[in-house]
């Protein structure tokens, strides 16, 4: 009982994210009847899934007190290289996928080493990496992009089993694995400890550097996977297709109730955050607003979240 109560109290911001999601959905249905019909909900889930896929990596990184700004160009590289190398063949995609995921892991590892061992601030390290990856991709492709996405990727991103989008099963799988890892494994526990106070964690024998490198690897792999699926959704690839996912990933984590400064939050919350952003993106045209308005929302959400987190930290300091 006490354990349950403690869990509820600790996850209050996560519950709030779901309340927000329901409210946004209800607003949509009121403003435009049919907003919540099954076909449209499917569309919202599919567009939310890309945010959730990049959001899982961002969640892990932010929980340790970092941030990954290299997500958009890792995603973009993965999408472009998939279409470029596969020539639309699903057979080639079978062996390209692990290579692309490994590439994402490699970028993540470099990010992690820079942050953990060279002590480069995460914003600078990952921004630098993002620029390097972007430049490398431009050099390699000469500014052009590949041909069509393989059918397997298209299937993964857009097909539905009855009313059930295939990609939702990927999302649920990621949700289950991420939640188990964060809440029930020694690694998850060490990750939270690192995010709350890395010195305390070190003193307790936690290898903080290993934890840091690991979360950036998770983020690199997740971004790469998102790139593969997004190529399938678009049907091809283009330069700049990852850009919207930079702030979307951070905003999803923030709406999901995680402390933007690290140490608290989880992927269940980020899931609600990703869905909320998708619903919001769907609402804006109905309300007669340009898609660019979404960017204003991202900016406000992130700044609001940072303000809230720092206010909380400040209050805790004062209370002590």
């Amino acid at each position: 009982m006490s354990a349950l109560r403690a869990t509820v109290i600790r996850n209050r911001p996560v519950l709030f994210a779901y309340v927000l999601l329901i409210v946004l959905g209800a607003v949509g249905e009121i403003v435009a009847s049919g907003f919540l019909r099954i076909n449209h909900v499917d569309e919202l889930i599919i567009s939310g899934a890309f945010i959730a896929l990049v959001g899982v990596g961002q969640t892990f990184v932010i929980l340790t007190g970092g941030v990954d700004l290299s997500i958009p160009w890792v995603l973009n590289s993965s999408a472009v290289l998939l279409t470029l190398w596969s020539h639309g063949s699903s057979g080639r995609m079978a062996w390209l996928t692990p290579i692309l995921l490994l590439g994402g892991a490699a970028v993540g590892a470099v990010n992690g080493i820079g942050v953990a061992y060279l002590r480069i601030p995460p914003i600078i390290m990952t921004l630098g990496m993002s620029t390097i990856v972007e430049g490398g991709l431009l050099l390699y492709t000469n500014g052009g992009s590949g041909s069509n996405a393989p059918n397997a990727a298209v299937y993964l991103a857009t097909h539905r089993w009855g009313p059930f989008p295939v990609i939702a099963s990927v999302w649920i799988g990621v949700l289950v694995v991420a939640t188990v890892v964060l809440s029930a494994t020694p690694f998850g526990r060490r990750l939270y400890a690192t995010g709350q106070n890395s010195r305390v964690a070190t003193f307790a024998g936690v290898r903080v550097t290993t934890v840091r490198v690991a979360v950036y690897i998770v983020s690199g792999v997740a971004a790469s996977l998102a790139g593969i699926v997004l190529a399938g959704y678009v049907g091809s690839s283009y330069l700049g297709m990852g850009d919207p996912y930079l702030f979307a990933s951070v905003a999803a984590v923030a709406i999901g109730g995680a402390s933007i400064l690290g140490g608290s939050g989880n992927f269940v919350g980020t899931t609600a955050g990703a869905l909320s952003l998708a619903v919001l993106a769907g609402l804006l045209p109905i309300l007669g607003l340009q898609p660019a308005a979404l960017q204003i929302v991202y900016g406000c959400v992130i700044l609001g979240a940072v303000t809230l987190s720092s206010a909380k930290v400040g209050a805790r300091r004062r209370a002590e």
Binding site: S2, A3, Q196, N197
Partner: protein, 532 residues
């Protein structure tokens, strides 16, 4: 106001009358009266959470009282902020030192009051001259005005913070826990200054946990308990026991528990020629099973480095033998594997042993997660079973494993710090200033825990910045000076005076007394290179 104070109220220049302040419905201060006369040192005593700091913040204008008012020279006093308070004549040296680390000492002292040149720019020469005059007046040596605050020790920063407040030449000086970051000889320097300032006609409010300091320096003492004033008495009318029971609201059974057991003959940790950086220059030590070995020394004589080296945080050379096996300790993980645990309260008092927003269970199991790894997962029931004996034996809080550690009392938080290492199987515990800034009741609780664990065969290295604790808690005391152990006192051998003599570098009591009696510039000796 109680006792004889009423008749003399008129000569109190700063008076708080009927001050109440509540946070979220909880009374931090309830109808508190407090007054300071010119020329007196008035001590404010009380446990953590008694309301001392809240009262100080009300006086300095950081907090507005819910009811009641503060009067300064018979005028209502409600400064906008601490800066305004200081300019108006009430200077407060806060616990958290409001210094800018990347500015120099002189820039900090005259922050917002910089002397200007004719062109309107800051006059560096003016700053330097004014700082030097101020330091001369205070007898403060060893701190250069153009040093960066970042490069100063916590003790030196404390002195700079005091100098900063005195630069405004206030009529009232409030010292909030100003001694808690200081070593013994620095404390006596500060007490002398407080006395001197009072003799110059200033009113001093002196806040401290340490009864001995309060009794040494005060003219009157006000005791706060749970946000109310228990009373105000002239020093002569008080006794130690009386003050402690006034603070606690009950009689403290015993601060130092009776000795339960003597150490065994087996050596549990043996250190030979331990060197680390420039501060630790070859330490030899033997720690026996069931022994509490006190480590004492002035600030910066290598005590901290000794603890950090033994725990694998500072790089070191030398031989460390634990339980008869030579161990190479290069990280906290290595130390934990070797059976060593560390509870470290650093100078800035931020607890480095707990994660406040996590539960007791999660905090306790953190260093032992590897053992709870069951095919990659932690089973909740197994974890609960694992931590429950320690929660029970150390009587942590309500004995609820799901309680959030941040909500526990200071004493219970320290039990969590120690408890998590009992769970790793550590038999050697390094306690670095575990009682810093902790009230008397909590101290008694911590000492009882240490005594009981020692009787069970655990060995302790015990450092404290409070000399009285070092005389009373350990079985044996090793004195460090200049990176070495210069003298060891067996149980019952060392008095405080002898310890002090050894701490300032005397290897035997005679030469120790000589150098202790000398008037070497205190701060330079402690903070900067030792001047011959």
């Amino acid at each position: 106001m109680t006792l004889g104070a009423t008749a003399d109220r008129n000569d109190e220049i700063l008076v708080a009358r009927g001050v109440s302040k509540a946070f979220a419905g909880v009374h931090a201060l309830e109808n508190v009266d407090f007054g300071v006369r010119a020329g007196e040192v008035h001590a404010l005593l009380g446990e953590n959470g008694a309301g001392k700091s809240t009262l100080v913040k009300v006086i300095a204008g950081v907090l507005r009282p819910d009811s009641g008012a503060v009067f300064f020279r018979d005028e209502p006093f409600a400064p906008r902020d601490p800066d305004a308070s200081s300019r108006a004549g009430v200077g407060v040296v806060f616990q958290e030192l409001p210094l800018v680390p990347d500015l120099t000492v002189m820039e900090n002292i005259f922050f917002n009051r910089e002397p200007l040149t004719r062109l309107g720019t800051v006059s560096r020469r003016g700053l330097r001259v004014a700082s030097e005059q101020l330091f001369d007046r205070l007898g403060l040596k060893g701190i250069r005005p153009d040093q960066l605050v970042r490069d100063l020790s916590v003790a030196a920063r404390q002195f700079v913070a005091i100098a900063k407040v005195l630069a405004d030449d206030p009529a009232i000086v409030v010292l909030d826990e100003a001694t808690s970051a200081l070593g013994p000889s620095e404390v006596s320097w500060l007490l002398e200054r407080a006395r001197q300032l009072a003799d110059e006609g200033k009113g001093i409010v002196f806040i401290s946990h340490r009864l001995a300091e309060v009794q040494e320096v005060s003219d009157r003492i006000t005791v706060l308990r749970n946000g109310t004033s228990v009373g105000t008495w002239p020093l002569a009318e008080t006794t130690s026991d009386g003050l402690v029971s006034a603070m606690l609201g009950r009689k403290l059974e015993q601060l130092y528990p009776p000795r339960k057991a003597e150490p065994g003959p087996t050596v549990s940790v043996s250190v030979r020629g331990l060197v680390s950086g420039s501060r630790l220059r070859g330490v030899d030590l033997d720690l026996h099973e069931g022994e509490i070995l006190g480590i004492c020394g002035l600030e910066g004589q290598g005590q901290l480095e000794l603890f950090l080296a033994l725990y694998g945080i500072a790089r070191s050379h030398g031989t460390i033998t634990v339980g008869g096996v030579v161990r190479h300790i290069h990280s906290p993980r290595d130390a934990i594997r070797a059976g060593i645990g560390l509870a470290l309260v650093p100078e800035d008092r931020k607890n480095e042993g707990i994660l406040p927003s996590l539960s007791v269970r999660e905090n306790l199991s953190l260093p032992s997660l590897g053992r709870l790894d069951h095919f990659g997962l932690i089973r909740r029931e197994a974890e609960q079973e694992f931590v429950s004996p320690v929660i029970r034996d150390l009587q942590i809080g309500r004995q609820d494993p799901e309680q959030v550690v941040g909500g526990l009392s200071g004493g219970n938080q320290q039990k969590v710090v120690v408890g998590k290492f009992l769970l790793t199987g550590a038999k050697v515990l390094l306690l670095y200033d575990l009682t810093r800034g902790v009230d008397v009741g909590t101290k008694a609780e911590i000492f009882r825990m240490i005594e009981e664990l020692a009787a069970d065969g655990y060995s302790f290295l015990f450092y404290s910045s409070d000399l009285a604790e070092l005389v009373n808690v350990p079985h044996r005391v090793a004195v460090m000076f200049d990176g070495r152990v210069v003298r060891q006192f067996a149980k019952g051998e060392g008095t405080q005076e002898e310890l002090v003599a050894a701490m300032v570098g005397g290897t035997d009591s005679a030469s120790g007394a000589a150098s202790a009696g000398g008037t070497r510039p205190l701060v330079s000796e402690v903070d900067v290179e030792v001047a011959p």
